[in-house]
Structures are given as C-alpha cells and as structure tokens.
C-alpha cells in the first residue's frame, strides 16, 4: 500500500475515535447511565475515609427485623426459605454465634440472650480480598469491601477465607427468590458471590445505609472512623465496645456496644 494512504487512514481513524470520545463527554445526556454526583466533591484519596458502623445492642429489640427487611429489599437479596441456598447481607443471630470466641462463663443471661446483628465487617485487613484470584472483591479507597459481580468466577475462596460467614454464594438463579423487586440495585446472576456493600450506592447520594435508616431504635450508627469529630468516633470514645474475633487481626470496621 502507498505510504501516504496508509498514514492518512491511520490519522483519520484516530480522528474518528477521538470525535466519538469527546461527543460522549460533551453530551452527558446521551450516556446510557446517569451519573449521580457524589455527596463529597473531593477527589477519592485512599485511606482518607474509612466507613464504619457501631451497633448498640442494648437498643436492639428481639423480634424486630426492620434492618434485615430494608437491606434485603433494597438490594434484591433472594429468599429461598432454606439454609443451603441462603443468601444474606445482614442478619440477627445469637451471642455465641456472633462472638464465638468471647467469654460466656457467668455472663449475664440478659446479655447472652439478646439478639445481635451481624453483617460484613468491612475489615481494614480483609482476608477475603487477599484470597480472591481476580480482584472481583476488593477494598475501596473509603474502606468498603466491595464486589464486582461481573468479574467474580464463583470459586468461593472468599467464603472460605471470611471468618465471619458474611459472604453468600448464588447457588441458583437469585431472581427466582425475589418476591418484590427493587429498582434501587441490580439483581445478581447465578454462580457469583455477594455480600453487604455498606450501601455504597446510597452513600454517593448522601444517604445513610438502608439498615441504619430503617432501625426504629436508632441502634445503628454509621460514619467515618477516620474523622475524630464524627458521631461514631465520639461514641467509640465514650462507650465500651467490642469487635468480632479481634484476635484474627482483620480489624473489623463494625463495632458493638454490649
């Protein structure tokens, strides 16, 4: 081929590509998905924020399941009514299951009989992200341990690695287990792992996580653990709190007032 023709075609090709690219930037209305402007307008800086949660178990009442219902509805978490296929992001459990390594001898029965809310701890040193062979689960710049459902190969290594049982696998098509679908968050496909995402999709809109908002007793407090002036930090300063299995060195971002 003639050298001139060849370089002309090359340049024209680059020009066309650049044109398409800038058009998408100039007319954001044309893009397929609308961008929600974040609640903070600064550039993401790794380690600056670390989202965390404090659960005041004294306020949590026995039969109430508002947090679970709100979360599972918002995120289209399926319910198949059996333990084997179970998918859960947040759940209520007993003292000995949530804190299996904590002391139980001569503990007040009021404390051991209270219900305890369990969810992903969004660890600062997460064993799950380390075990993931595709970076389908990763720790974000704001401390949230997140999932890319489109990259997950379904090897379930993260489930074996998580010492808190916080991860669920879609053993079957989750859409069959969703009675009332929410439009707030996409459904998942069969064969991938999922878990609590600290409502990252709500945080960018400036909203609290769905469970925090739904709790009638305000037992859940959400905030930035790296901000000394935040409510969560003040509560951590003023109350006796504990984390789940601190001896494993995972540094959970979820704290409990017993």
């Amino acid at each position: 081929m003639n050298e001139d023709r060849r370089s002309f075609i090359k340049k024209a090709g680059i020009g066309i590509l650049a044109g398409i690219g800038s058009a998408a930037g100039l007319f954001p209305a044309l893009s397929l998905e609308k961008t929600v402007f974040p609640a903070w307008d600064e550039k993401p800086e790794p380690g600056k924020h670390r989202w965390g949660m404090l659960i005041d178990t004294r306020k949590c009442s026995g039969n109430c399941k508002e947090c679970v219902a709100a979360c599972h509805f918002t995120h289209n978490v399926p319910d198949f009514g059996n333990r084997k296929d179970e998918v859960k992001w947040i759940w209520k459990s007993s003292y000995e299951n949530v804190f299996p390594t904590a002391s139980r001898q001569f503990q007040s029965s009021e404390v051991t009989e209270r219900p305890y809310v369990a969810l992903c701890n969004h660890c600062a040193e997460p064993p799950c992200t380390k075990a993931c062979p595709t970076e389908a689960t990763f720790r974000r710049w704001d401390g949230i341990v997140s999932m890319d459902y489109h990259r997950c190969i379904g090897c379930r290594f993260c489930m074996a690695a998580c010492p808190y049982g916080s991860r669920s696998f879609n053993w079957r098509d989750p859409r069959e287990g969703i009675k009332l679908a929410s439009t707030e968050y996409p459904t998942r496909m069969q064969g991938v792992v999922e878990k609590c995402n600290f409502c990252s999709e709500r945080l960018v809109k400036g909203l609290d996580p769905a469970c925090v908002e739904a709790c009638p007793e305000q037992a859940l407090v959400f905030g930035d653990l790296n901000d000394p002036a935040s409510e969560i930090r003040k509560l951590l300063e003023s109350s006796e709190t504990m984390q789940r299995k601190p001896e494993l060195g995972t540094k959970p971002s979820v704290f409990y007032i017993i």
Binding site: K84, I153, G154, F157, G165, N170, W171
Partner: protein, 385 residues
C-alpha cells in the same frame, strides 16, 4: 506417535467405550449443574466446598508423586526405574488434567476462568496454583513425550529436555505446597490453619501416589504384558512406607497440639471428624476406616515377607490409596467447614449429580492415561522386539 493409541484389541476398545460412557454421563450431569446452578450439589452456605475440591486436593498429590520415580531415575541414575518413569510422568499429566477439571466443575462461572489470567493477583494463592499446575502439566507432558519419541526413533534424547526434567522435581514439590497454602493461610478455619499442612500433603501424596503407581504398573503387566519390574515396585513400596509413616506421624502431631493445648477452636474440626460434634457424626465411620486402612497397609508394608508377595502388596497399596483418599479427598476439606466460623454445624451430603460429574472427570483422566500409556507401551514393546 499418537496413532499408536488407535490400534488395539477388543478389550482395549471396550475399555475406551466404557470410559466414554462415563464421560457422557458426567457431561449430562454437568450440563444440569450449569443450568440449575451449584444448588444441585450437596454444597451450601456453610459447607461451600465439597467433593470437587476434595478430589482436586487428592489428585494434586497423585500428580506430585511422579517425582518419586523421576528423582531415582534421572538424579541417581537407578536403571531399575527405566520402565516406570514414563508411567509416573503420564500419570502426573492425567492427574493434573483432572485437577483442573475439578476446579472448573466447582466454579460458579467457569466461563470466566480466564479472569484469573486477565487480572493476575499474586496475593491470591489460587493464582499461583493455576500457574504451577499448568506448568507442571506442560513440563511432564513435554519431557515424557520427547523422551519417548527419541526412544522410538532410536536416537539419543535431545539435550534440551534434561533441564526440563530436572525442573519438574522442585516443581512437583511446589504444586502440592501451593495447594496446601490454599488452605493453610485462612484465618478462622482451624483444621487447616497449621504449618504442618504442606509437609503432610507432601507425605500423604508420596504415600498414596507411589502406591497408585505400583497398582498401575501391575494393571499394565496384566493387560499388556508390559512389566515395569519387581525391583522398581519393591523400591516404590519402600518409599510409600516411609511417606505413609511420615503422614500418620503428622496426623498424630495435629491431635497432640489440638487436644493438649485444649483450645476449643483447634479441637473442633478433629472432634467433628473423628468423634462427632454436638451430635453430628456423618464422617466418623469414614475417618476411622481411613485410619484402619492406613495402619493396615503400613503393617503389611513393614513386613518384608508380606510385601514381597504380589497379593499382599496389592492389598497394601489399595489400603494406602483408599486411606489417603478418604483423609484428603473427603475429611480434610469438609472438616474445615464444620463447625462453621460462627460455630454452626451443617453437614454435607453428596448428591447424585455431583457424584456423576466426579465420575465423569475421573473417566476423562483415566481415558487420557489409557491413551498415553497405550502409546508408551507400544513404543517400548517395539523397541524390545
């Protein structure tokens, strides 16, 4: 050379047909699993790995044990292993292939398997396992095939293959060490969280793998008349004995550490496997059977009179392979999940679909081994003639 696998007796083709039937059944079961999801297996939220991963673990050991013939033949120039070495290497090829198929069968999205290479993650042990297993398959196939090809043409083995054969020795250790690291680095799974896991994997691999190799050479002798020699089998039996003793010694040390320290989390896994935990005891008979078979095999192997009798040798080898298959191919993986990190107890029961897929994968492995050995035996026999 592969054309040698296309000419065989009636029995050979019957055997191939039987294996193809098994592969067919496995494929049907696998397509059902793909369609309905892994819910068709016995796995669930609490026991999230089962038979597939357990078979994978056992077979990595079988693959690694090829080193038990490569070291004496190529490093120490022990001529009595001349006919066994090709069998060991081809067995490693078939076993590694099965390992990969078991991983694929266990994945929720096998269509995305290449993500492991597209987004390489050196912090994940799976990434390294995929690397070393593929490498091991390639190394063993290339070295065995090249050496055999040279033998067929009656020319000396090309020089470039020697370094590859030497490389296969540390590589064999690496595949099983990395496989142990898949388990041994996870917090909250106390049965696996032990530094002795990798050495124990190697010991059990060398015990079960060499025993299996002895059995394969005996089958070859019976079906094809190709005899690897009693001398090679005798030496392999000695290796299996030492490795078996090392394996049971390490199991013993696990018991000591768990029960003498009296730390509940360390005891739970072993309690569940060997004595039952909070009334759940599905695996207890299996684990004791495993110990019984293992100790029985060692008793035969330690007795010089018995181990030199072909029948007793077969019994010992079958015992050793079954013992370690139960220990590694069932107990080890399930024991890591029961009780769960939240101390909930859910037992695992295998399903027919899962079992059929497993049989299908074994059939693929045995088919590949049959074809490769058919080529090897034909070439060796032509040389002798």
């Amino acid at each position: 050379m592969i054309e040698k696998a296309l000419k065989g007796s009636r029995n050979y083709w019957l055997w191939i047909g039987l294996l193809l039937l098994g592969i067919g059944a496995g494929s049907v079961a696998f397509s059902r699993q793909m369609w309905e999801g892994l819910t068709v297996t016995g796995m669930g939220r609490d026991v999230s790995w089962g038979l597939y991963i357990a078979q994978f673990t056992f077979l990595v050991g079988v693959a690694a044990s090829a080193v038990m013939v490569v070291i004496p033949y190529y490093l120490h120039n022990r001529k009595e292993f001349a006919k066994t070495v090709i069998v060991g290497e081809f067995m490693a090829v078939a076993a590694t292939l099965m390992c990969m198929l078991f991983i694929l069968a266990d994945m929720g999205r096998p269509d995305r398997v290449l993500n492991v290479l597209l987004y390489p993650s050196p912090h994940a042990m799976v990434f390294w396992d995929v690397m070393v297993l593929n490498g091991y398959l390639l190394i063993n196939f290339v070295s065995a095939w090249t050496v055999l090809g040279a033998e067929r043409k009656g020319v000396p083995t090309p020089k470039w293959v020697k370094p590859i054969i030497y490389l296969s020795i540390p590589w064999a250790f690496s595949i099983h060490t990395v496989t142990a690291f898949l388990y041994a680095g996870l917090p909250g799974r106390h049965l696996w969280l032990t530094a002795v896991l990798a050495p124990r994997f190697l010991a059990s691999a060398f015990a079960a793998g060499t025993s299996l190799l002895i059995l394969v050479t005996l089958v070859l002798k019976k079906t094809t008349g190709f005899d690897a020699g009693n001398e090679a089998r005798r030496k392999l039996a000695v290796l299996a004995t030492y490795a078996g003793i090392a394996n049971f010694f390490m199991i013993g040390t696990e018991f000591f550490t768990a029960f003498y320290s009296n730390v509940p989390a360390h005891m739970h896994g072993l309690q569940y496997l060997f004595f039952g935990f909070e009334g759940k005891s599905n695996l207890v008979p299996w684990m004791w059977l495993s110990l019984l078979l293992g100790f029985g095999a060692l008793a035969i192997l330690l007795n010089p009179k018995l181990r030199q009798t072909s029948k007793w040798l077969v019994a010992a080898c079958v015992g050793m392979v079954s013992s370690i298959w139960i220990d590694k191919g069932v107990g080890l993986v399930l024991g890591g999940f029961v009780p769960s990190p939240l101390e909930e107890i859910t037992e695992y029961g295998v399903t027919l679909t899962e079992l059929t897929v497993t049989l299908g994968i074994w059939a693929v492995g045995i088919l590949v081994l049959t074809l490769l050995l058919k080529v090897a035996v034909t070439v060796k026999k032509e040389q002798e003639a």
